[in-house]
Symmetry: C2
Subunit: 277 residues, 2 copies
């Protein structure tokens, strides 16, 4: 079902590339173009069939009726502002940024038909080489409309994500940033800190526990630096709760209080079992 004439994807990495593959597989657009700073990325994205044509310059988006900004948050904001004078009248602009307050605040003003989006499908992998047309199947995509968001634009962007296989939910940008600070940003900070603190000379003993808890510490640094800095208040709040939980466990160990330790571990274990596989 064709939803668009031309879609332009700015940033053809894991997420942008997977959107391109998904759109092309489902024939949702007549043409998909990609914009990247790297000729190599464009060539690979074309070879993989994620885009029909690629450009180094963002001004190539002039003819697109949908522009998707799929880059680290600060890059999304910079490029979004820059293309505000370039997009054709009526064109929709959306993004895939992992924090939404700053993106929606700035681009909601700069672009008349902007819809904030965050597909919860990231991974420690990166690049169009890892892109998959089914990356979003069965996963959540959060849209973050505000009072200013065009309802027709929102409905079209919702339709795109549904076609790509995602379950779409709506949250305000503020709620998104607060909730996701716990479910995504906090685990990433903890994972980076955890592997940072493990001595190199014990790494050869790593078993599945360490591997799984630190898998996401292999994530792209540029992306996560932007996330941590654009959602710092929520993340620092989340870290306070984390530290409180850690301190309770630590004190039970120091006091050799087996009962208290068992109680806290059980609370944690039961909560973990509430997460659907």
């Amino acid at each position: 079902m064709r939803l668009f004439n031309q879609v332009a994807i700015v940033g053809v990495g894991l997420i942008g590339g997977s959107i391109g593959l998904g759109i092309k597989k489902r024939r949702l657009a007549r043409q998909v173009i990609g914009i990247s700073r790297h000729r190599k990325t464009i060539n690979l994205a074309k070879r993989r069939g994620a885009i029909d044509a690629g450009f180094l310059d963002v001004s190539a988006i002039r003819q697109a009726d949908l522009v998707i900004l799929a880059a680290p948050v600060n890059t999304i904001i910079q490029i979004g502002v820059r293309i505000s004078s370039l997009v054709k009248p009526g064109a929709l602009v959306t993004d895939t940024g992992s924090t939404k307050r700053s993106v929606v605040e700035i681009l909601g003003k700069a672009l008349p038909n902007f819809v904030g989006a965050h597909p919860l499908s990231g991974s420690e992998k990166q690049g169009v080489a890892s892109a998959r047309d089914d990356l979003f199947c069965g996963s959540l995509c959060v849209l973050t409309p505000t009072a200013k968001t065009s309802r027709s634009a929102l409905s079209i962007i919702r339709g795109l994500w549904v076609e790509l296989g995602a379950r779409v939910i709506y949250l305000t940008p503020a709620k998104h940033d607060r909730f996701i600070s716990y479910t995504s940003h906090l685990p990433h900070i903890i994972s980076f800190s955890l592997i940072h603190s493990v001595p190199r000379n014990s790494l050869y003993l790593a078993s599945s526990g360490l591997k799984d808890t630190t898998r996401i510490a292999a994530s792209p640094v540029g992306l996560w630096k932007d996330i941590f800095l654009t959602n710092s208040e929520n993340i620092l709040d989340a870290l306070k709760y984390f530290s409180r939980s850690l301190t309770r466990i630590k004190h039970a160990i120091i006091k050799k209080d087996a009962k208290a330790l068992e109680r806290i571990l059980n609370q944690a274990r039961l909560k973990r079992k509430e997460i659907k596989p």
Copy 2:
């Protein structure tokens, strides 16, 4: 290749059950018996073919030429002391406990042919229902001999683990407990703390990052309580290093110091990439 006449496994859970399945598949013993406090476990272990016969009372180990204690650490110690007057002369005793200093110190005295062992093959799963005859294939098994350990006993226990598919390494009990406090105990404490601090109302947004970092928080509480309490000094040390790393990342976020943040995240990411898949 038959290594033993009768093997007795005390505690027929994930680890004990997998040892039983592995021994029986490779015909390493004429008979495998299991000891459990629960009749249900014995029946399931028999149905799964992990043991030939099962008993509720630990005195059933009298005829065994190898006794394997596969239980939480404090139970290993209790039962090991209790069977010291029951094991037949010349019988070997080994264990699978996740901390080794207290186990080896106490059981090395109580039992003439004791060899401490720790297969690094645990998981958040538990019970003989999850046992697999190939659980140890390709994973590490740490043996922790001391000056007192019988060399022939050590060599036989080594042979058993090699037959079960493990790569065997030797560490002193003290080194084992220190190294493993970083690569296993620290990740578990962090994982329990992490899920403990995530508000219930955001759990529906959990994506793969949170799921992977908290998978091991679904681990058996009794097992981990014992580990944390029997290796508390090392774990508290490891927590200090973890807190230092976390504080460095937190301060870079508070100061909005993108350069420092990028540097620390990169150090973490590169170290993570040193771990073999």
